[in-house]
Subunit: 331 residues, 2 copies
Amino acid sequence: MRKFNEEKELSSMNGALHLRSQINEIIDKIHANNYQNICWLGIGGTYASAMQAVAHMKEKSALETFVQNAAEYVVTGNKRITKQTLIIISSVTGSTQEMVEAVKRAATTGATILAFLDIADSPLSKLANYVVSYPENEQLKFFMVADRLMYLAGEFADYDNFYQEMDQNFAQAIVEVAKKADSFAKEFAAKHHEDSMHYFVGAGNQWGATYSYAMCYWEEQHWLRSKSIEAAEFFHGTLEVIDRDTPVTVYVGEDMQRSLSERVAKFLPQICGNYTIIDTKDYDLLGISLQYRGLISPFVFHEINNRIDAYVEHINRHPMDIRRYYRQLKY
Amino acid sequence: MRKFNEEKELSSMNGALHLRSQINEIIDKIHANNYQNICWLGIGGTYASAMQAVAHMKEKSALETFVQNAAEYVVTGNKRITKQTLIIISSVTGSTQEMVEAVKRAATTGATILAFLDIADSPLSKLANYVVSYPENEQLKFFMVADRLMYLAGEFADYDNFYQEMDQNFAQAIVEVAKKADSFAKEFAAKHHEDSMHYFVGAGNQWGATYSYAMCYWEEQHWLRSKSIEAAEFFHGTLEVIDRDTPVTVYVGEDMQRSLSERVAKFLPQICGNYTIIDTKDYDLLGISLQYRGLISPFVFHEINNRIDAYVEHINRHPMDIRRYYRQLKY
């Protein structure tokens, strides 16, 4: 298995889960101060993660929660963001230009800003009210925040039970996904590493990740053309350009929007001979109860996508770290 | 000019503007009953129009307003939709399956449903509390609702002045756009009617329309591959797959997010030799004051896109009404 270190992965995920006591201390305090709404502020990959957090909450929550694109916030503002807003951000570098500008503007509203930063000492850290510093695992961090907020709002009664399973079994279950998916991923990469266009379809808590995978991985890191489309929207346009040879991948998860992705998966074989269905149901996830599988579907897909990336990168001899234009040219 | 009937267009737009007294009567009543939030419910093209309505409101409004995809609502619900919610929908056929199911579910919450229906006697009309029946002009209808809501909330002080200009000058100003854009549109169609992929970039109140133009026009009606991308997001992935020959069109409007599209327009010539910038500033819009031009930018683009469509349709001898799969196969 290329680029796979089981111990490192386990330790990374378990370390992220251990942030929960720190996160809960922060969130419990914010909850006690009567926040009014929750804003997930991001751009690019973090905008996508923000979409996932909102989709994740929508299944259970009556709280007002929304995504805000950072660059759009800088020019348009958002009058729903006030001193009673909790803003959650995440950044690897802590220096993405749109994020720094957006958080500066947000800070003037008096909103409470919780930042997850891979690098603790960065421009963004100085602007946040709370900083949690730990590398990677963005989605896990976001979901832990969302889950605590819902728990405190009385919307997640079995929170303790769920996190008991997560703490005990999540990391190992996800690592097993990587092992099981590896040969599939290798074949997938061999078949699709030169696609002139690849369509990715996703729904629910996987939609943000689908958007991100097409844009932040295939386009940005592999320099491969791709388009993401919400499963619900697939039938309102995109289907008409799919033919026998068009590469289409559908993510079928186990959250409440499973049926929307299933609908695409069932329809596709009639018109397309080059589709791939990736279904979380094909993975065991030992120690995770049936009713929680949907909540962690995005992590299953993420692990499978990582495997695909490792092989596409190698076959194409295209290191994923290089950029043609980003941070090479000014914009 | 192909497929262009000035008198018919003028009468269509002016007729839509005349709906305003009917719309205001409805909205004033809903406002008096203390609604809590505003949901724009749609799928495909109407989902896109909903995005535009929300972007339009965000410039001015502190009201809680959001987009809800109809198919997603059917499976996931949305606990922010309650009996104090105003839901706005629009439908040409009045029978789109996801819309009918979603509105049925929404009706059980006791939300107030305002429906714009091209066909008055349709399944959706029976489910709505208020029906306004008039063909086309969806965006204009949505903006009139949004503007009245903002006016009543004290967020649109010069509402009367704006609509005086709209009533007097809007339709003619837009028709003049069509005439001025026609030769450009013909050349554009001649150059791009066979593109293997076309990228459309938009921002602000044009983002929804950009999404829709790529998906509901190029993909669905021309069977041409295309991808839409938010101007703010362009730099976070998509730029890496753009090269000398990649067709990219950027819509540069005059709303508050103009700078985001401008940034793409200024960047592109460095890496791409096949781009097109469509800028509303190139059009006169006689009788529309400078401060209102941004509000109607989407209508300028819509008219230009219509011109392009007329020529692509003819050159490709591909009638825009035919569908390869939609409503031909079950899904």
